[in-house]
């Protein structure tokens, strides 16, 4: 196809896209919204453990040891005040230690230790507090645990440099932006079918293949440009920019293939929206596993978006490089090309 024909088609599609108030608005809004959320979220992770303590006769050694464990202690004047602090959410945990507790422990008695947990504190955090207190109690009773720990961190040591929530969300935003474009492009094609303008184009010397190549260039360009812009604005390209760029480009190709598939099965704008939402929901699943590791099973790896999310996340946050991501890139490229070819074939079949 002549370059000027491709330019003509892409210019036409971009004109129509941005003259559709809904898509122009959604495109700008999504970019601004995601960037805004990113910058509003804290850039660091609060790694401190906080605890309220009411202990009328607690020995200073107890408080010191807790502080050494990284716990910030807030001494309370009464059990009532402690309870209120937990209920109000000022601290996640409160502990009351009765008078004579340490002496009882030292004498080998089973002494009470009352813990108050905030209602939304996850079970694993509750366990962490229990374990810290048990360990301290053993130590203070003169019977430390007979274990000597040796520790080694595999991969980058993130202690003190935990990945903030906004960096974990960034791949999810990028994937959302790419997937949103599936609806935009599918709608653009569907609108041409509904308005019968495709029919007018196809009685010119323009070949069907060229027509859809124009759509593909528009779709890949729009999706890639938006995701790239978001990553650039949020500093997501500071590590391995070429690798991230290639990943986003493959993601844009994948989004375009899915858009073609949606346009080939959708009958009108409403069905484009329905299919588009379904596709977004399914393909966004891998992005959530980044936020909450372990929530999903291995089957998510059959979703092509897994390789997109995983690559962006690990490159941006875990210092992964080309060598680490070769497998992911190959899988993403294979999925993207397969979906694109399938979508183009389905579309061609529908309109020929």
């Amino acid at each position: 196809m002549a370059a000027h024909t491709l330019r003509t088609l892409v210019a036409k599609d971009l004109t129509l896209y941005f003259r559709n108030r809904f898509f122009a608005f959604i495109t700008v809004l999504a970019l601004v919204f995601y960037a805004l959320i990113y910058f509003l979220l804290p850039a660091t992770v609060d790694e401190t453990l906080e605890m309220a303590l009411f202990a009328p006769s607690v020995p200073p050694a107890f408080a010191e040891q807790l502080t050494q464990e990284g716990v910030i202690l807030r001494q309370m004047e009464s059990e009532t005040a402690l309870r209120q602090a937990v209920v109000d959410g000022d601290v996640p945990v409160g502990i009351t230690i009765p008078a004579g507790w340490l002496e009882g422990i030292a004498a080998g008695e089973a002494e009470p230790l009352h813990l108050f947990f905030r209602a939304d504190l996850p079970a694993e955090f509750q366990d962490a507090y229990r374990i810290i207190l048990q360990e301290m109690t053993y130590a203070m009773s003169g019977q430390p645990l007979n274990i000597r720990f040796t520790e080694e961190t595999l991969g980058p040591d993130l202690v003190g440099e935990q990945i903030p929530m906004r960096e974990q969300l960034l791949p999810l935003f990028a994937v959302f932006i790419l997937l949103m474009e599936t609806m935009g492009l599918a709608s653009l094609i569907s609108a041409e079918v509904e308005a019968h303008t495709l029919q007018a184009l196809l009685v010119t010397p323009l070949q069907t293949g060229s027509l859809f190549l124009g759509k593909a260039v528009t779709g890949v360009g729009l999706a890639f440009a938006q995701a790239f812009l978001l990553m650039a604005v949020t500093g997501g390209l500071s590590r391995e920019p070429l690798l991230i760029t290639l990943t986003l480009l493959l993601g844009a190709l994948l989004a375009t293939g899915i858009a073609f598939l949606i346009a080939s099965v959708a009958r009108d704008m409403m069905s484009v929206m329905a299919w588009g939402m379904l596709a977004i929901l399914v393909l966004a699943l891998p992005a959530f596993t980044v936020l909450i590791p372990g929530i999903a099973s291995q089957w998510l790896q059959i979703l092509p978006s897994h390789y997109l999310v995983d690559t962006v996340y690990r490159v941006a946050n875990l210092e992964a490089g080309w060598a680490d991501m070769t497998g992911n890139l190959l899988a993403l490229a294979a999925f993207s090309l397969a979906f694109f070819a399938l979508g183009a074939l389905a579309l061609r079949r529908k309109f020929q």
């Binding site: 129509l16 019968h196 007018a200 184009l201 010397p205």
Partner: protein, 287 residues
């Protein structure tokens, strides 16, 4: 170069069990305006789609400008212009943008949208988005779009349907100008008066078959009745109408006798319309 712009041989098309076009054959000479007349669902648009390469015939063959449409659709589409029955313009774009887009796709050098828009009476509003146009303006723009490549064959599918008289006249003038330029025009319509005024020949299509194909005059001579309608005043002053067939051997005597015996108030000659002939041939009305 073929002396026929369009040759259809046994063209057939089915939609499932329904035969929309049933083995039709006809030829259209270069520079001729052929009217393709029939009611809705008769097979007019399907025929246009096969002739313009949008649909591949299930049987038969169409040749345009000496090229087989099924084998060379793009070469043919470069030389034809099509105005569709359904309005299919880019409504979010202006008239100029619509025309320039198609001019670029046809590879037309030095295209001037302004000149074409003046021809269809859309000057002054060429930069407005098409979504704000009236139906007549959109239809005129569709015809203008079909002319961007100065086509050798112009297909117009119901170009004046539902339009105001001014828009209809504008489109009819444009069709005649194109014929003057040497273009062949394939006009589908169910407006018999329009066909009568514009077409060199007309084909009647009904239920996928061509039931008659000739010049309007020949069809009227072959199938129509010429009448004299005479209004006479009755004995009590009431008006009565008498019909006298003009082609009967004793027409002269009948007219003379009527004038001598009765008080003639008005006399009108009437000839059969294409619609009358269509009804006579098919038993159906056009709309």
């Amino acid at each position: 170069m073929s002396e026929y712009a369009i040759v259809a041989e046994d063209l057939t098309y089915h939609y499932g069990e329904l035969t929309a076009v049933d083995h039709i054959s006809f030829r259209v000479e270069e520079g001729e305006i052929l009217g393709f007349l029939g009611p809705n669902g008769a097979g007019k648009t399907t025929t246009v789609r096969m002739l313009t390469g949008q649909r591949r015939p299930h049987a038969g063959r169409a040749t345009l400008l000496g090229l087989d449409v099924a084998r060379h659709p793009k070469e043919i589409q470069a030389q034809i212009g099509v105005s569709f029955e359904i309005t299919n313009l880019y409504e979010q774009m202006s008239a100029v943008e619509n025309l320039e887009l198609f001019a670029r796709l046809f590879g037309v050098d030095g295209f001037s949208a302004g000149a074409l828009l003046r021809r269809v009476g859309l000057e002054g509003r060429e930069q407005e988005r098409v979504e704000g146009y009236s139906k007549g303006m959109k239809q005129r723009l569709m015809v203008a779009r079909a002319l961007v490549n100065r086509p050798r064959i112009l297909f117009l599918d119901e170009p004046t349907e539902g339009l105001d008289p001014t828009s209809s006249r504008s489109i009819r003038n444009l069709i005649l100008e194109e014929r003057e330029r040497g273009a062949t025009v394939f006009l589908t319509t169910h407006d018999m008066l329009e066909a009568d005024k514009l077409c060199d020949r007309v084909a009647f299509i009904n239920q996928g078959e061509i039931v008659a194909l000739d010049t309007p005059r020949a069809l009227k001579q072959q199938y129509g009745r010429r009448l004299l309608k005479v209004e006479v005043a009755g004995p009590n002053g009431q008006m009565e109408t008498r019909e006298i067939t003009l082609d009967a051997p004793d027409t002269g005597e009948t007219v003379a006798e009527l004038f001598s015996r009765e008080k003639v108030v008005t006399v009108h000659s009437e000839e059969a319309t294409l619609e009358d002939i269509f009804i006579e041939l098919t038993g159906r009305r056009l709309v």
